[in-house]
């Protein structure tokens, strides 16, 4: 699947066959569509943007047009899914902490990817230029970015500890080495569940 982002490729490898999936902020349905084809999953995507919703319809992927900031209680019961995925969306939410809880309410496991603000290029821009970083993974300026809740991997892991969320698996994109992921990883990927 050449049109999948690298983080989506990794997610695809983590998902078991025939599982039930909820994809929060599913975009044009690319990931869900690949998971259906490769892993025979069943599930739904949630997306707010009109164009992206239309993309899902075009692919024939189940999409529910809705605002994630309103939570998931309108549609989903506890424990309805094996995996709840949220790729590159957490940082754009008004209440990312609440959404984490919601993910683990409706799903057994959560999978999250986000741009790691601790990535060395971000740190250098802030340190040397004294300006908010603008990079490949964070392409917008501070005033027009949808990313209102950026965090580092360390930040995320602290929140998980506070919420008693157990991290099952962690990896990064942007570094082939496992050392210092919070410094060398451009995009963070986590799989987690309730402790």
């Amino acid at each position: 699947m050449s049109d999948m982002r690298p983080d989506q490729e990794l997610i695809c490898n983590w998902i078991e066959d025939d599982s039930r999936i909820l994809d929060l902020g599913c975009g044009d349905g690319t990931l869900l569509n690949s998971l259906i084809e490769r892993r025979n999953v069943k599930g739904y995507g949630l997306e707010l943007n009109d164009k992206k919703v239309l993309g899902c319809f075009t692919k024939g992927v189940n999409v529910i047009q809705s605002d994630l900031d309103h939570g998931l209680s309108d549609y989903f019961d506890n424990n309805s899914f094996d995996y709840v995925i949220m790729s590159l969306t957490l940082q754009a939410m008004n209440f990312p902490d609440r959404l984490l809880d919601e993910m683990l309410r409706v799903g057994q496991e959560g999978i999250i990817t986000f741009p790691n603000f601790g990535y060395w290029k971000n740190r250098i821009q802030l340190l040397l230029k004294g300006k908010m970083p603008v990079t490949k993974s964070l392409p917008n300026f501070w005033y027009n970015t949808p990313n209102i809740h950026l965090c580092t991997m360390k930040d995320f892991e602290l929140l998980c500890r506070e919420k008693k969320i157990h991290i099952i698996q962690r990896t990064v994109i942007g570094s082939r080495h496992k050392i210092a992921p919070n410094l060398l990883g451009e995009t963070a990927i986590y799989r987690f569940k309730r402790e």
């Binding site: 239309l54 319809f57 529910i64």
Partner: protein
Amino acid sequence: MKDSIGIVSPESAEFRQPLKLRSGDTLNSYKLVYETYGTLNQDASNAILICHALSGNHHAAGYHLDKNGDPERKPGWWETAIGPGKPIDSDRFFIVSPNNLGGCDGSTGPATINPASGIPYGPDFPFVTVEDWVESQALLADRLGIDKWAAVVGGSLGGMQVLQWSISYPKRIQHAVIIAAAPKLTAQNIAFNEVARQAIRTDPDFHEGRYLEHTDTIPERGLRLARMLGHITYLSDEAMGAKFGRELRDGQINYGYGVEFQVESYLRYQADSFIGRFDANTYLLMTKALDYFDPALNHADNLSVALKDVKSKFCVISFTSDWRFPPQRSQEIVRSLIDCGLDVSYAEIEANHGHDAFLMPIPQYLNILQAYMDKVIDRDDFGDSNSE
């Protein structure tokens, strides 16, 4: 008539087998008038049923010829969505659009002569429900050699029929497209309907519903009020404001009860054009069918239980400014479909037209509908011969 199916004319089917109705009454024989667009393929796998709303009929697309043999000025009520190359594509689908029982456009209804008495049924026409319509539409499908609809599509009250189809005949409907609908009416919805009915029934020309026996008088005043009230609920405050604002017809206030504000002129025009074409008893019946619709009623008020045997895939569409059946009502349907693990896609269209939006050429809406209908054929798993 570019992009139109062109000239169309209705067909009809007579049924002599008695139809047992939900109310307990029976219709011994009846006629259904319908239109079709496109061609049924060899294995009858490309058939689409269109269900109409309260004041709709079988004439969904194309143009009728007038008395002089010229095309009428106005096309069918869903010309925006049905036709060659349109979302409900007459080049690919065989589209069937019936007039519901109890209607006043050709199918047996209150204005039809009752064979038992030789006079119009009038108030003696039995109550018909959404379930009854679905039964009669299934019999029409049998008659047309359609075992399974590729999709059943409808807006508003039409959407309720689609939902009922998925419940009544889970094996005969592959895709359900439910637009601007609700799983049942609210108290406020019923209240509006009751005011409309009271307007008609208290009109001195109503004659207990036997107005057709009285030298062709009709309860014109009541029907006008009912239609005006209906139109207020079809438009949003925003749409009315944008369309009319406080604009005055004569440019000044005249201190009288004639038409002063443009919105008054609009309502009167809508009322005028309605009384010529719609039967008051049909209006009463249709509003009752709306009120009675509640598939969850016999399932402890739980729609998910009512849907437990449903098999079809769903497309649900709502409009942001629709206050008659707002998005929350569509979301109730979506939630129950998800509860049942059914395939569903839901789009909430940004539109300021109010409930009427489902008839409007809104690009995002038509694109969504087109994308979904494209997949109706793609995902087809009961025959390949329609891919010609």
